[in-house]
């Protein structure tokens, strides 16, 4: 597998009142062309920060990339100039945000906003950009695109706005599309439409997708591979089917088991949910040298408090960072 995007030993630090905290700690992963990779974890685990680092949008100060590299098709983005990054963003890598209302500009029509991207990055004329914008709106299945292009964001429903965001993100045919919780604000039936659309358009433009989510169902639905993050660290990585069937890290296991998944057949029996006690540690604890999951872990031992867990390669495609990995038993559906 030749990687299109390769993140190596990335560490991003934030200066806080309590000192310097590594919000992303030694993170590495590869993204192949056309692949869909998912970053999973609770809020505050560094998923969105990873996306911002790739886009070169880490707010600085207080943040800075302390070490590591992010390379897109061989080019190290961390050494790229601001001008170069501006060309990369939108053109090679683009992003769909969680809240489509706040990420669209309320005073411009959606047509103007899509055209702006095209004119800026592809150097199209006003007329060409407009024609292509209509084409993009049509591609994301917005009815009557010639009329909708003159609408302002507030005239569209949540699902339509997210379609516009996707149209805008894909207008320049990027190599990588980062979708940060793209359907969290949407209803399930609309979420299904957006996922279908992302799959179809992603396939057509051959874009690789990084899907950021906290929902294992969405991961199963959309992604081929998954990186599970906890408190800025990668704690497990592998193919989605393997991870779902045989999660090895206690956190991954908890993340799958703590959600009441919709069952195929319902019986009268209703067991209690498996809880992950506690919550994600505050930023000030991120530098801690032991395992950051230790306070919430049901398999914790002395070593976990003292040493940062070593990454164990379980199979060529699956790895996990834990001192006390769970046996590879097949998950029993609750």
């Amino acid at each position: 597998m030749t990687a299109l995007l390769s993140v190596k030993n990335l560490t991003v630090e934030f200066t806080t009142r309590d000192g310097i905290a590594p919000v992303i700690d030694d993170l590495s992963f590869d993204l192949a062309p056309g692949e869909t990779l998912s970053l999973v974890g609770e809020s505050g685990c560094g998923k969105s920060m990873t996306a911002l680092a790739i886009m070169g949008l880490i707010p600085s100060p207080p943040g800075r990339v302390a070490s590591g590299s992010i390379s897109l098709a061989g080019e190290n983005l961390l050494q790229a100039s601001d001008t170069r990054m501006r060309a990369v963003r939108g053109n090679d890598i683009s992003m769909v945000f969680q809240e489509p209302m706040t990420s669209l500009n309320p005073v411009f029509t959606v047509g103007e906003q899509i055209s702006e991207t095209l004119r800026r990055h592809q150097g199209l004329t006003r007329r060409q950009a407009k024609a292509l914008s209509i084409e993009m709106l049509d591609a994301v299945q917005i009815p009557l695109p010639t009329r909708r292009i003159n609408d302002y964001p507030h005239q569209l429903s949540g699902g339509m706005r997210q379609r516009v965001m996707i149209a805008m993100a894909l207008a320049c045919r990027p190599k990588v599309l980062i979708a940060d919780e793209p359907t969290t604000a949407l209803d399930v039936t609309v979420q299904a439409q957006i996922f279908d659309l992302m799959r179809a358009v992603g396939k057509e433009t051959a874009a690789a997708i990084i899907l950021i989510t906290h929902d294992m169902g969405s991961v199963a639905e959309m992604a081929e591979r998954v990186v599970v993050m906890y408190a800025g660290r990668k704690i497990e990585e592998g193919y989605v089917d393997d991870i779902l069937a045989r999660p090895r890290h206690p956190y991954t296991r908890g993340l799958i088991a703590c959600v009441p998944h919709l069952l195929e057949t319902v019986s009268a029996e209703r067991p209690y949910l498996q809880e992950i006690p506690g919550m994600v540690p505050p930023l000030s604890d991120f530098g801690f040298m032991g395992c950051l999951f230790a306070p919430r872990c049901n398999r914790v031992e002395t070593r976990c408090w003292q040493e940062k867990p070593k990454v164990t390669q379980i199979t060529p495609s699956q790895s996990a960072a834990c001192w006390n990995l769970q046996e590879a038993q097949v998950r029993v559906d609750a």
């Binding site: 039936t189 294992m216 169902g217 639905e221 195929e264 319902v266 209690y272 919550m279």
Partner: protein
């Protein structure tokens, strides 16, 4: 609370409840238009059980809940709790009824007064509803903190010093403070992180068993609904399209909307994913102000027929515990 028999008594009944809002006229000459957020809902909730209301945003779930709690005026219909006509209550009688009927809100950030200490928030219903003597109230607050899994030394803290999950625990303690029989939970976990959701859901289940609570549980998350509820009503644009007990609804969903809704949920269960057929419903719900005649789901229904656009299908029993509002199901049954 006595233990619940197999077929427990009915606690809450709703008869043909309608909640409508008058909208601002577009011009002086225009007819004032009416938005029927809840349109003719008939339901009954049995003691000690959980009635789930599921639907997409804008389906009227929250409006219905607020109406039951008498936090919104009801336009038409009747609501009875324990045989008492809730809608006719005024003044002191209404205040007394509130003791038996409490609310857990969706957003634990905006539903707690930021200037009150946690103990004061939990104590407030006791003070307001004059429950127990003043000296007993502090003991009761301590007991409530234990029950919802908060530490006693956290009593003096302010809401901003708590995490989202802990705040929701404060909201739950406040709701059960007056020993209510009915607790209305409006999306109690949707603002919380996945890891914390399970903690709150388990707490709600445990409290229900211990205190014999009856829940009206509102959520858009079908997984949560399936896990928590005994009976489920599916709402769409202010109407109930299907209502059944947990097993019938999830094992044999009848309404095309319910079927589509269930099939749209992404699943981490490999078996389910391989077996299930995705039913896509195109577009968004119609504009609630200008509702077309006939079935409200007709514009998105994959099995729509001509009569669906003309006649509104009534909610009819197809089974003892299963009601469906669809022309096609009726024909089939």
């Amino acid at each position: 609370m006595p233990d619940t028999p197999v077929e427990s008594a009915t606690l809450l009944t709703l008869q043909d409840v309608e909640v409508s809002f008058t909208l601002k006229r577009s011009s002086v000459f225009a007819k004032p238009s009416l938005l029927r957020a809840v349109d003719g809902v008939t339901l009954s909730v049995r003691k000690g059980q959980t009635m789930g209301i599921v639907g997409e945003s804008g389906s009227g779930k929250t409006t219905l809940a607020l109406a039951v709690a008498r936090l919104l005026p009801v336009t038409r219909g009747r609501i009875h709790m324990n045989g008492v006509d809730l809608l006719s209550l005024r003044g002191e009688a209404l205040r007394n009824a509130r003791r038996h009927m409490q609310f857990i809100f969706q957003d634990p950030y905006s539903s707690l007064n930021p200037r009150l200490r946690a103990e004061k928030i939990v104590r407030e219903p006791l003070d307001r509803l004059s429950i127990a003597s003043t000296s007993r109230r502090n003991d009761r607050v301590r007991e409530l903190f234990d029950q919802v899994g908060l530490r006693r030394d956290q009593q003096r803290l302010f809401p901003h010093q708590f995490s989202g999950g802990q705040r929701q625990r404060i909201g739950i303690a406040r709701a059960i403070a007056s020993n209510p029989s009915l607790v209305i939970c409006d999306e109690p976990v949707s603002a919380l992180d996945v890891g914390v959701q399970a903690q709150i859901l388990n707490l709600l289940r445990r409290l229900q068993e211990e205190l014999g609570l009856t829940y009206v549980f509102i959520s858009h998350d079908l997984g949560v609904i399936q896990h928590m509820c005994d009976t489920i009503a599916v709402m769409y644009m202010g109407k109930i399209l299907e209502e059944a007990d947990r097993e019938s609804l999830f094992n044999t969903p009848k309404h095309p909307y319910t079927q589509a809704l269930l099939s749209a949920v992404p699943s981490a269960d490999l078996n389910r994913r391989n077996r299930q057929r995705r039913i896509m419903i195109p577009g968004d719900p119609p504009n609630p102000i200008h509702l077309p005649p006939g079935c409200r789901f007709a514009s998105r229904c994959p099995q729509v027929e001509d009569r669906c656009r003309v006649d509104t299908p009534p909610l009819v029993n197809i089974d003892r515990h299963h009601r469906v509002a669809c022309h096609l199901v009726k024909a089939a049954g």
